[in-house]
């Protein structure tokens, strides 16, 4: 029987470049407290957020993704034509089809490469890394863009006290490339559909079609339930990711969780018993929660402020609406 030709396998992957796009408008707590009858102190105490950045009306998810991707490609020392695929994690384009990823092939000038959006909310970036790692190791592609980009400000309700005041806009991107040595360990990822409504939109777009009174959908969450899941169950997932990588917390140089809430980050770090030497991504204080963009943005900032982290090990974990989660240990670019 004829043997089918398959891509070269048996190689490794690693992150070779990173870039970020931070939205231009810093929104302080004071600008949001009126409609939720709250205060700067209340928001800081419950979330650790001082400001979040939001994009202007004329800026799209694809625009922010493009800016982050251009920086990541250059940082990897590559050209757009070197990119073999684009994975864009986002839930806020407002247009389920066509994908924003497909538009990026045109905006970036990559050529007609495979491109698709990933709908995994705040775990989307880690889902993208898991897919890119598998695609590179299988020999399917040599260089893949993984982007997390969100314009959450389009889906906030100023009167909502559950999640809206946490949210910001932005994009972070990395290039995952073929490597002679391992740079991305096995991913631990999954879903928990029994908690489908724990973080959700208020209603579907289809309801708007059928009912003229239906509101534009905005985000809500059951905060205390999310906190419990994000700390104690995600601590187990994070430990599984360390085990899958064959390392312990003592081997890490950085811990970069999804920037959901500073109290989740602090409690998660406590549960993981991280050594004090481990740098923790805390971009949330002035960048807010940017869903799929938060881990690459926090990573970009950690590397900019701590250049000694280049080439060191980081544990990243994303978790959010689904509920969905994904974690892996990576070598920082």
């Amino acid at each position: 029987m004829t043997t089918l030709k398959t891509p070269e396998a048996g190689r490794f992957s690693r992150i070779t470049g990173i870039g970020g796009c931070r939205s231009e408008h810093a929104v302080p707590n004071e600008a949001l407290v009126g409609p939720i009858d709250s205060s700067d102190e209340w928001i800081r105490q419950r979330t650790g957020i001082i400001t979040r950045h939001r994009a202007g009306a004329d800026v799209s998810v694809a625009d922010m993704a493009e800016e982050a991707a251009v920086e990541a490609i250059a940082n990897a020392g590559l050209k757009p034509s070197d990119i073999g695929g684009i994975l864009l994690a986002t839930v806020t384009t407002g247009i389920p089809t066509p994908s924003a990823a497909a538009l990026l092939t045109e905006k970036l000038g990559t050529g007609p490469v495979p491109a698709w959006d990933i709908s995994a909310a705040c775990a989307g970036y880690c889902y993208g890394i898991a897919q890119a790692d598998a695609l590179v190791r299988s020999g399917t592609m040599d260089n893949i863009l993984v982007i997390g980009a969100e314009k959450l400000s389009d889906f906030v309700d100023p009167t909502d006290r559950s999640i809206s005041f946490l949210l910001g806009d932005g994009a972070g991107a990395v290039v995952v490339s073929a490597s002679d040595t391992p740079g991305i360990a096995a991913s631990v990822w999954g879903s928990k559909g029994e908690n489908w409504e724990t973080i959700r939109l208020t209603n579907s777009f289809i309801e708007m079609k059928d009912d003229p009174e239906a509101p534009f959908p905005t985000l809500r969450q059951d905060g205390p339930s999310v906190f419990r899941w994000a700390v104690w169950e995600m601590a187990e997932v994070a430990q599984q990711a360390l085990d899958a990588a064959g390392i312990t917390a003592a081997d890490l140089s950085a811990f970069i969780p999804h920037q959901a809430n500073m109290r989740i980050i602090d409690e998660l770090a406590k549960q993981l018993k991280l050594p004090e030497s481990v740098q923790i991504g805390r971009d949330i204080a002035d960048n807010g929660n940017t869903s799929a963009a938060s881990i690459p943005l926090a990573t970009e900032r950690l590397l900019r402020e701590n250049p000694e982290l280049h080439g060191k090990l980081a544990l990243q974990i994303g978790f959010g609406a689904g509920l969905v989660y994904g974690a892996q240990v990576v070598v920082l670019p």
Binding site: Q45, R46, P224, F227, V231, N261, R263, E267
Partner: protein, 83 residues
């Protein structure tokens, strides 16, 4: 072995002290977690998870909102231990 009501109250007071810094003597049965002890919903979840571990019980998310006073939590844990 099941903890007595007094043991549960004392243990809960220690957990609250650890999470909030409040004196254990302030954690009385009649006190409301929110209104009297100024414990927010996130700290309440931490207290609930630590109480589950300490007393070997399960307190589902949906039941947490019914635990208004310290006595509500003590009664819930005592009952859950017998289940």
């Amino acid at each position: 072995m099941a903890h007595s009501e007094a043991d549960v109250l004392a243990g809960l007071a220690e957990i609250v002290n650890e999470e909030t810094g409040l004196e254990t003597s302030a954690v009385e049965g009649s006190k409301s977690f929110t209104d009297d002890l100024d414990i927010d919903s996130i700290s309440m979840m931490t207290i609930v998870v630590n109480a589950e571990k300490k007393f070997g019980v399960k307190i589902p998310d949906d039941d947490v909102k019914d635990l208004v006073t310290v006595q509500d939590a003590v009664d819930y844990i005592v009952k859950a231990q017998q289940a």
